[in-house]
Symmetry: C2
Subunit: 348 residues, 2 copies
DNA sequence: TAGCGGCGCTAAAGCGCTTTAGTCCGCGCC
DNA sequence: GGCGCGGACTAAAGCGCTTTAGCGCCGCTA
């Protein structure tokens, strides 16, 4: 409501300098908490900032100071299939919540393959658009970490294998989680266990399969893994393949919530009752698995928190604070619901 | 590999000017397709650009030229519930696909309420972080359009009521879509129809309810709308309330795919068979509704395309091209699946 | 043949901030 | 009493781009 003097122009640092009767340099120093400004002057400056409603122009700051206050996330997925799983949205929510607390923006891009993803990183690095990027879905022999180091773009990986690499990572221990799930099924007496796995080139998918087979060997389970991508068709086909085996599994583990739901549909069509005839567990938990009937046993992990942890790590990294090579994410916990039960044919 | 001369610094416009033997101004003009540069010089400059691998520094460009090449999206939702519905991710995918084709970035933020959303807009406007914003979930007497105009931040709305307002909108005609759905149910002989509606303060939710009741009046249907937010609990409660009515509905319409799934679970628990005992239709279509058993009849609309349309409109707007007050989105079509059938008690 | 307009190009300023290199002043010290 | 020093602050340059003003030249007209 009514500002004196200048036309309707955003106040700049020069305006607040004039208003406080100091030089622009002093204002910049005061705003950035640098020494060389007396307490009195500093408060006077901050008062002027508040009074005029000044906000930094990010472009100018980025040009002068070298920080874009923006973090990027490139998701490599067929664009139209994105969003069926709640995982992404949850992760993005968490990332964004932590970043925006520090007034850092999150920039999002969806591409079709890893090479396009690398192109985006190159472009962002060249344009100095982002201070760093979060990398998902690490693959075996993934070129991205090295490339990112080469182009000098700070990055944080989600997962990987928990060993130090060229860039820091946040490690969600899928191996441990899958082990818990295997132990749950073994405790219920299951021996023949099917596993509808994810995309096998992903490190985390591979680790899950390995964990299940390791635990199986230890606990005397007979594990059969059938890979499937994220589509319902493949998941349904994989489920049917498992049902068609000579030694039909008495329990099936799905790598994701959506896959589990798709699987349950196939089981229902086959006239199988849960958990009377067959048990089902999902590796990912979400609202969705509670929509199944009965609701599904799942490994629960707070994806939102995971996003926040990634963001915190990223913020430390771009600020040049020390960051551990591997940050451990909170462990998943087993949430038993109605879809897993005693193996059929055994008295309760 | 090995670049002569300078240390490992990104090439600037000055570098390519030197390389092409012209002034920086000429380079800028050539890059921006402005007249006053001969074809020969222009190609020479572009060759230098390609050779040196130059990319514009977005910060510098934004500072000089006033364009951030970034569009913002603020989603007002409880952060942890975001992502259960595929709608958002699909919309974001579409938005982003169109924007990134023009090398414009999408910036994303999730906030808890509209007042926080307005704060973000104010901040973004002050920081000149975004060229414009996309606004979702318009409410009755929504303060956002006027405020955005006031702060001079270009914006495009999704939906609204299809009438011109202070800012351009992309209009997805929920009224027409809901009418089609009502006609489908009427044709199957249903009279008592339940409706589990969304958040009634949203303009689009209200329009859907109105459409259903209008069509009901015309077609002789008895419509009962029960509002429910996006939670499973409310949806389940609303479904039970409908089932408990004296005149139990023979068909239920859900405002979203996830709500429909939650409803189907309740119906299954009540021992009702689809579509033998009761028909179910979802207003939103997605992969998820095919996970139900039987798959659900739904109004299908390409949310990805809708995102692209929003993005195109936004791009035109920030470029100062003429934009219609209301852009019509493609109409939804009815996708009949197994969940809707003849009203019970009527011979097929 | 002088005048004029347009084309192709350049010099220089400016966007809003950060940072470097001072300047100035008061104080303690030998 | 001169010197050095550190604290408080400023002038000015610079970040990489866009834009405005303007210059020189050529061809055309009167």
């Amino acid at each position: 409501m009514s500002s004196a003097g200048h036309p309707n122009r955003r106040p700049t640092i020069a305006d607040i300098a004039a208003h406080a009767g100091v030089s622009p340099t002093a204002v910049s120093f005061a705003l950035n908490d640098r020494p060389g400004i007396s307490a009195r002057t500093r408060t006077r400056i901050l008062a002027a900032v508040a009074e005029l409603g000044w906000r930094p122009n990010v472009a100018a700051r980025a040009l002068g100071g070298r920080r874009a206050d923006t973090v990027g996330l490139v998701v490599t997925r067929p664009a139209r299939t994105l969003g069926v799983e709640p995982f992404f949205a949850q992760l993005v929510s968490g990332l964004q919540a932590r970043l925006s607390a520090d007034l850092v923006a999150l920039q999002l891009l969806v591409v079709e393959d890893v090479s396009a993803e690398l192109d985006v990183y190159r472009r962002w690095a060249a344009e100095q658009r982002t201070d760093g990027v979060v990398v998902l879905d690490l693959e075996r022999d993934d070129p991205r970490p090295e490339e990112l180091v080469r182009m000098g773009l700070p990055a944080v990986l989600l997962s990987g294998d928990g060993t130090p690499g060229p860039v820091p990572s946040v490690f969600a221990d899928d191996h441990a989680a899958m082990t818990l799930l295997a132990e749950h099924l073994a405790a219920l007496g299951h021996v023949h266990v099917g596993h509808v796995g994810g995309v096998h080139t992903y490190v985390h998918s591979a680790r899950r399969a390995t964990a299940l087979h390791d635990a199986g060997a230890r606990l005397g389970l007979d594990i059969t893994t059938v890979p499937a991508d994220f589509s319902q068709d493949e998941t349904a086909a994989a489920t049917r393949a498992l049902l068609a085996r000579d030694e039909r599994p008495t329990a099936i583990v799905y790598d994701s919530d959506v896959a589990a739901l798709a699987g349950v549909t196939v089981l229902a069509e086959a006239g199988l009752d849960l958990p009377g005839d067959i048990s089902v567990a999902s590796f990912d938990d979400s609202e969705l698995v509670r929509l199944a009937h009965p609701p599904l046993t799942a490994m629960t992990r707070d994806t939102f928190d995971l996003g926040e942890l990634l963001a915190s790590t990223m913020l430390s990294l771009v600020r040049g604070e020390p960051v551990p090579d591997v940050v451990d994410a909170p462990a998943s916990v087993l949430t038993v619901r109605g879809s897993t039960g005693q193996v059929p044919g055994v008295a309760a």
